[in-house]
C-alpha cells in the first residue's frame, strides 16, 4: 500500500487522462424540439458522474443514447477510445437501471437477474452462481423465486440493480432510480449504491433531478439545462463556485439581491460591496449568496475586509435543524441561516449582515 507519492500521482494522472466513456458533442433533435444539444463529457474509469437538471432538460435522452436505445442526431460516443455510436444496444455491454425498473413481470427474480447471462451464453451452473452472488450483493438472497410484483419498490430497485451489475457492464447507467422510493429508503439505497459502485470500481453515470442525490453520490456533477451542460465539476465547486446563474439557482438555496455598477465598483443597498470573483459585462447585475455563509452581528460591528449590510430582523422561522432569520435590508429581504444556538437577535433588533468577498457571486440579471 505504501507507494511513493510521485508514483501514485503518476498513476492517478494516467487514469485521469485515460477517459473511459467520452461523449463528443452529442445531440438529439425531435423535429423542432432539441432534446440534447452538444453535450461533451468525459468520464474516467471508476468515476461516478451525476447528470443533474430539471425535468425535461434531456437527461434520460442522453443516457438512452449512451446505452444505444436512441440514435443520436449528431456527435459520437466512445468507450475506451473506441467509437460505439453505431453499435446496437445489445452489443454495448452497459448496465441500465431504468426509472420504472422495467423488470420482466413474467420471470422470477432469479430469471430476471440471470437474463443478461443467458444472452451471453453463460452456462447454467456458472449463471446460478453469479445470480446468487449478485442477489447477495444487494441483500436479496431469500427472494430469488418471487415474481417482481410480489416485491416492494425498494426490493424491485435492488433486483434491477443486480440485473444490471451481474453482466459486469463497462458502464453503469442509473436513471432517476431512487425517485420512486420514500425518503428513508432513498437515503439507505443511496449509500448502498455508492458503496457498491466504489467497491466494484464501476464507471457510473447517474441521472437525477435531486441535488442532494447528486451532491452525496457522485465524484462530479454535470448540471444540465435545456439540453446543454452548464457546468461540470466536483460537488464542492458546483456548490461554491457555480459557473452560471442557472447553476447557482438550481443547486442549493440562494439569497439573490440586485446590485449596481458604479465608477468605484459594485454598490449594494447604497454601500460598496466586494467580490473575489469575476463580474460579467452586463449592466443589470445580481448578487448571489448562500444563506448559511452570512453571519449575523451587532449593528456597529466593524466588517474589515468583509462585506457588511445593515438591517432589521423581521421574523424567525424554526426549521428543525436550523433557524432561518428574515432580515429587511435596504437591498431587500435576506434570509440568514444560523444554527439557532446562543443569543439570537429578536424581531425588531438592528443587525449587521457580514459575509466574505469570496462567498459573493455576481451574475447578469435574468430577463424579466
Amino acid at each position: 500500500m505504501e507507494q511513493p507519492l510521485a508514483a501514485r500521482n503518476h498513476q492517478c494522472a494516467l487514469t485521469r487522462r485515460m477517459s473511459h466513456l467520452t461523449l463528443n458533442r452529442l445531440s438529439k433533435r425531435y423535429g423542432e424540439t432539441v432534446a440534447v444539444a452538444d453535450v461533451s463529457l468525459s468520464v474516467a474509469r471508476g468515476e461516478s458522474v451525476a447528470l443533474l437538471g430539471p425535468s425535461g432538460c434531456g437527461k434520460t435522452t442522453t443516457l438512452r443514447m449512451i446505452a444505444g436505445l436512441i440514435q443520436p442526431s449528431a456527435g459520437a460516443i466512445e468507450v475506451l477510445g473506441v467509437d460505439v455510436t453505431q453499435v446496437p444496444a445489445h452489443r454495448r455491454n452497459m448496465g441500465y437501471v431504468f426509472q420504472s425498473y422495467a423488470l420482466f413481470p413474467h420471470m422470477s427474480v432469479a430469471a430476471n437477474v440471470g437474463f443478461g447471462l443467458d444472452e451471453r451464453g453463460v452456462g447454467r451452473s456458472e449463471r446460478d452462481r453469479r445470480v446468487a452472488a449478485a442477489l447477495s450483493q444487494v441483500r436479496l438472497e431469500g427472494l430469488s423465486a418471487r415474481k417482481p410484483r410480489e416485491l416492494s419498490g425498494g426490493q424491485q430497485q435492488r433486483v434491477a440493480l443486480a440485473r444490471a451489475l451481474v453482466i459486469e457492464p463497462d458502464v453503469l447507467l442509473l436513471d432517476e432510480s431512487l425517485s420512486n422510493l420514500d425518503a428513508r429508503l432513498r437515503d439507505a439505497m443511496r449509500l448502498e449504491i455508492r458503496d457498491l459502485q466504489r467497491s466494484l470500481g464501476i464507471t457510473t453515470l447517474f441521472v437525477t433531478h435531486d441535488q442532494t442525490e447528486a451532491l452525496t453520490l457522485c465524484d462530479r456533477i454535470a448540471v444540465m439545462h435545456a439540453g446543454r451542460v452548464e457546468q461540470i465539476a466536483d460537488p464542492v465547486t458546483i456548490y461554491e463556485r457555480p459557473a452560471s446563474r442557472f447553476v447557482a439557482e438550481f443547486v442549493g438555496r440562494s439569497v439573490v439581491l440586485p446590485v449596481e455598477r458604479s465608477e468605484a465598483g459594485l454598490v449594494l443597498g447604497g454601500r460598496p460591496v466586494r467580490t473575489a470573483h469575476p463580474v460579467p459585462e452586463s449592466r443589470a447585475l445580481e448578487l448571489f449568496l448562500r444563506p448559511q455563509r452570512i453571519a449575523l452581528a451587532g449593528p456597529e460591528t466593524e466588517a474589515g475586509a468583509h462585506n457588511r449590510l445593515g438591517g432589521v430582523v423581521r421574523s424567525h422561522v424554526f426549521v428543525g435543524d436550523r433557524l432561518e432569520v428574515l432580515v429587511d435590508t435596504q437591498a431587500g429581504r435576506v434570509t440568514v441561516e444560523t444554527s439557532g444556538a446562543g443569543a439570537v437577535a429578536q424581531p425588531g433588533d438592528a443587525v449587521s449582515l457580514i459575509w466574505s468577498p469570496s462567498d459573493t457571486l455576481v451574475f447578469a440579471r435574468a430577463a424579466p
Binding site: 436505445l69 444496444a89 422495467a102 413474467h106 437474463f115 444472452e119 444490471a164
Partner: protein
C-alpha cells in the same frame, strides 16, 4: 354505498338476460324433441335428432371442413397479423398510421360487398370452392381483427421492458421471443379465439365462394333450412353452443394462466 347495483337494476339485468336467452333455451328444448316437426313445447323427448345429425353426410362434411378451415385461418391470421401488428405498433414501417387504417378497411365494408369482390378476385385464379380460396376469403376478415387486437396489446406492454432486455444483450429477435411474446399471451389467445369463431361463423362470404366441392357448415345449414324445417338444425345448434363454450373455457384457461404467469 350499498354493495352491487341495487335490486332494481339487478332485476332489470336479469330480465334482459331472460329475453336474450329465451330463444336459445327454446332451441335446446327442440333439439331434444321426439317430434318430426318443430313444435314448442315438444310432445316428447329423445336423442333421435342427434342421431340423424350424425348420419347426415352433407352437414358432417361441412362441419369437418369448417373446423379445418377455422384452424387454418387461425394459424394463418396469427402468422400474418402478429408480425404486422408488431411492426405497426413499434412504428418500424414507414406510414404506420396509414397502414393501420388500411388494414381496418375490410372491417368497415359490408360483407356482401366483400363476398362479391372475393368471388371476382378468386374466380380467375380458380380458387373458388377450394380450401385455399375459402381460407384466403376468411383471412380478409380475420387478419384486420388480429392486427387491431395485437397493435393494442403491443402498445400497452410495459414501457422500457423491451429496452431493458436489449440493454442486457438480447438481439431484437431474442427480445421478441423472451419478453414481448410471453407478455402478449392474453392478446394472442384472444386473437386466436376470435379468428377461429369468425371463420367458423362466417356465412355471407362463404356463400359467395363455396361450391359443391367445398362447402362450410353455415352454408350447408342455410341450404338445409331452405328445404326443410325439422329439429335437426336445433340439435346442430346445441352441438355448436357446447363446442363454443368449450373453446371459451380453454381460452380462459390460457389467458388466466398467462395472468398467473406474470401479467
Amino acid at each position: 354505498m350499498r354493495e352491487g347495483a341495487g335490486p332494481w337494476l339487478g332485476a332489470a339485468a336479469a330480465l334482459v338476460y331472460v329475453v336474450l336467452l329465451a330463444p336459445v333455451a327454446v332451441v335446446v328444448f327442440i333439439a331434444f324433441s321426439a317430434d318430426s316437426f318443430i313444435v314448442f313445447p315438444p310432445s316428447g323427448y329423445s336423442l333421435r335428432w342427434f342421431q340423424r345429425l350424425w348420419a347426415h353426410e352433407a352437414l358432417m362434411r361441412g362441419l369437418s371442413l369448417s373446423l379445418m378451415l377455422a384452424g387454418i385461418v387461425t394459424i394463418g391470421s396469427l402468422a400474418i397479423g402478429v408480425p404486422a401488428a408488431y411492426a405497426i405498433a413499434r412504428a418500424k414501417v414507414p406510414a404506420a398510421g396509414a397502414l393501420k387504417a388500411f388494414f381496418l378497411a375490410p372491417l368497415l365494408l359490408p360483407t356482401l360487398v366483400l363476398g362479391l369482390a372475393l368471388l371476382m378476385a378468386l374466380q380467375p385464379l380458380r380458387l373458388t370452392a377450394t380450401l385455399t380460396g375459402l381460407a384466403l376469403g376468411h383471412m380478409v376478415m380475420t387478419v384486420p381483427f388480429v392486427i387491431r387486437l395485437m397493435v393494442t396489446t403491443f402498445a400497452t406492454l410495459p414501457d422500457e421492458v423491451e429496452a431493458a432486455a436489449a440493454s442486457l444483450g438480447a438481439t431484437p429477435w431474442r427480445v421478441f421471443r423472451r419478453v414481448t411474446l410471453p407478455l402478449a399471451i392474453p392478446g394472442l389467445a384472444a386473437s386466436a379465439f376470435l379468428s377461429f369463431l369468425l371463420s367458423f361463423d362466417e356465412t355471407v362470404i362463404s356463400l359467395f365462394i363455396s361450391g359443391p366441392r367445398a362447402s362450410t357448415l353455415p352454408v350447408e345449414m342455410v341450404r338445409y333450412v331452405e328445404g326443410r324445417t325439422d329439429p335437426l338444425v336445433a340439435a346442430l345448434s346445441v352441438v355448436l353452443i357446447v363446442a363454443t363454450l368449450f373453446v371459451i373455457l380453454v381460452v380462459e384457461r390460457i389467458a388466466g394462466l398467462a395472468r398467473v404467469v406474470g401479467r
